[in-house]
Subunit: 352 residues, 2 copies
DNA sequence: CCCCACACGGTAAACGTTTACAGAAGCAGG
DNA sequence: CCTGCTTCTGTAAACGTTTACCGTGTGGGG
């Protein structure tokens, strides 16, 4: 941990000026024997370029920040997993901000762009407040927002389309002959809750089915909420034949309750989740789920940002990622074990 | 994105020297009216301190790196989720390196410490090679290794204890009256594979059970491997009454095959997983699993690193985190739906 | 043989901070 | 009114790079 060698150390040892050292290290045209002397000295000293000094001079940090509420959330995680390699390939490091559902903290991240410790930011705001919009307009570095941002906001924007996602699911259920499809939604004052609710209404209309508010139940986005909501629903409408759940955890809760009530899935009640997380493939029966393309959104955001870092002068762009329905046993189901399907690393690489 | 104001801009506007500005901004004793002038100017200009310049001068970046093979891996993710808030509370940013199981890449991360873009590193190596040890000895910043490192390596070290973990599981199964316990292990040339194999042998001996190599099957750490392995095992030893699986994915594979074969879990065959991931609580029946304390290891590592960053002169320390058995339906089981249990956020916070 | 062009390398400034040092100003005491 | 002390502030150097600019030395052409 001793004080590392600098360009000056090398210059002394090689008997040249620091300018020459810098030129050699940057591959600028230099006489051959100078090159050799410098390289030799650098080698012997184990020189490594100081990134901080370099950043100060060049005002490029080669770092990009990614800010979201919680890395533990599978949707954000899926984004992260795509963003990381894209940035890495382009020579950027990734700084992670978990803001923990705290709006003030999100604003803080935006503010901290002024510290210039990153070249750009990808952020997934929980909610877009006026404060967000003001900070986005004044941001000191390029920002890409995943989620919806009003037209005219000077940032690149990547969106999912959960309305259409719900629509896909309802079309699928309708095609399977289901006519009494319940909705187990999250809070309607959240962005996803609102969009999913709207998608449900829309889809019913498109299919010519009546909207029956007894078929809708609201809770939070967790498994226990799903259980509560579905219990209530079954109680109220025992003839229900399908459930559209606003995320996979809610759907797992639904499976718990249906099993306890002796309803077969999918024969008696078909169940669809949303987000297509790992849990969907792991559950029994495996869960049909609407993928909102988190991975694709992450990748798109990273690419937009890289583009802008290369050439900041393009107009703000909008990318919308289409949803996709992953059909599994909970709707389609022969009850066979899942095929050699989306298996994912889960080994503990650590341990002793 | 205009060129932001610097300390010099403020100095001009306030009619003082840059030294005074710096002093005010750092809260050093200063005459009151100077303070007001500087604060006013800083306010008006929307000044934000440049982190890069600051780092250069102070040789502190207030960044820490975390390097592991893959963020998607639940064990690493659990670590990350603990590390992040600890660092954040201490005023450090988190730089994430996903090395993708590439040893050269891990070495690269160690090497890049010389660039001094972080103050320290927490790393989870897949395997500890000689190259690792050399780089660790020469590291230009404090490193904490999660995993096992030979005695004498000059780094802080946090370990799990999967041998004891296997032991806990086998004790539990034995107490339930199971006597023909199979092992579905990962590759024995990996650190976790080896440790788990050793734990199995040890535990059998301690329980006075014979070691029967027909009861052991090896595959990789994925669900499909688990299915293959368990199919072979059932074929060879139809009288098997319990399965110790080297991770949760393997265990899910085991459940698939047992279900298909008409064996009831846990009545006919009890199943234990390892790592206690989200999947364990999500599966049906829910999975008894050995937690190796990933979260605790992450937290411990972060705390060790912070300690060392405060005062680099303490001797290298070793922390071993004990395993814990999470008993669920796959061994203990009434087949009731899981209680209002470890439900975790899974809502999509984005989308629209 | 001289001059010019050119390639190369060195000096110094700059990036935006922090901080050692010294000078200025204010004040109390003699 | 001077001395000496304290308190504050300004000047300048430093962190480790990159790079504009200029001087030197070489080789070739006239």
């Amino acid at each position: 941990m001793a004080q590392g060698p600098t360009i000056t150390t090398i210059a002394k040892r090689a008997g040249v000026s620091i300018a020459s050292v810098s030129r050699v290290l940057n591959g600028l045209p230099t006489r051959q024997d100078t090159v050799s002397k410098v390289m030799a000295a650098a080698e012997e000293l184990g020189y490594v370029r100081n990134a901080v000094a370099r950043s100060l001079k060049s005002s490029r940090t080669h770092q990009v920040a990614f800010a979201m509420a919680d890395v533990g959330n599978p949707a954000y995680l899926a984004m992260l997993r795509e963003i990381q390699p894209v940035l890495k390939a382009a020579g950027y490091r990734l700084v992670l901000h978990s803001t923990g559902a705290d709006v003030a903290d999100e604003i803080g991240v935006l503010h901290s762009l002024g510290e210039r410790y990153v070249d750009g930011l990808i952020m997934v705001p929980l909610r877009v407040t006026d404060a967000h919009l003001r900070m986005l307009a004044a941001a000191r570095a390029p920002v890409v927002v995943i989620g919806s941002v009003p037209e005219g906001t000077p940032v690149d924007n990547v969106r999912a389309d959960s309305r259409t996602g719900v629509r896909l699911a309802l079309d699928h259920l309708h095609a399977l002959g289901r006519r009494r499809v319940g909705l187990v939604n999250g809070p309607p004052d959240t962005v996803p809750g609102a969009a999913r609710g709207a998608g449900y209404v829309e889809a019913l209309a498109a299919l010519g089915l009546p909207y029956d508010k007894e078929l809708v139940e609201i809770g939070d986005f967790y498994r226990a909420d799903g259980r509560r909501a579905v219990a209530a629903l079954l109680d109220r409408r025992p003839d229900i034949d399908a459930l559209m759940c606003a995320n996979d955890l809610i759907a797992l809760g639904a499976l718990d309750v249906l099993r306890a009530a002796g309803r077969r899935v999918p024969q008696d009640v078909a169940v669809v989740g949303m987000d297509d997380t790992d849990l969907a493939a792991a559950s029994w029966p495996s869960l049909t789920s609407v993928s909102l393309g988190s991975a694709e959104r992450g990748r798109a955001a990273a690419e937009l940002l890289l583009d802008r870092l290369e050439d900041g002068d393009v107009a703000p762009r909008l990318v919308t990622v289409p949803p996709r329905l992953e059909v599994r046993a909970s709707t389609a189901g022969e009850q066979a074990p899942p095929a050699g399907d989306a298996d994912r690393p889960g080994a503990d690489g650590a341990g002793a």
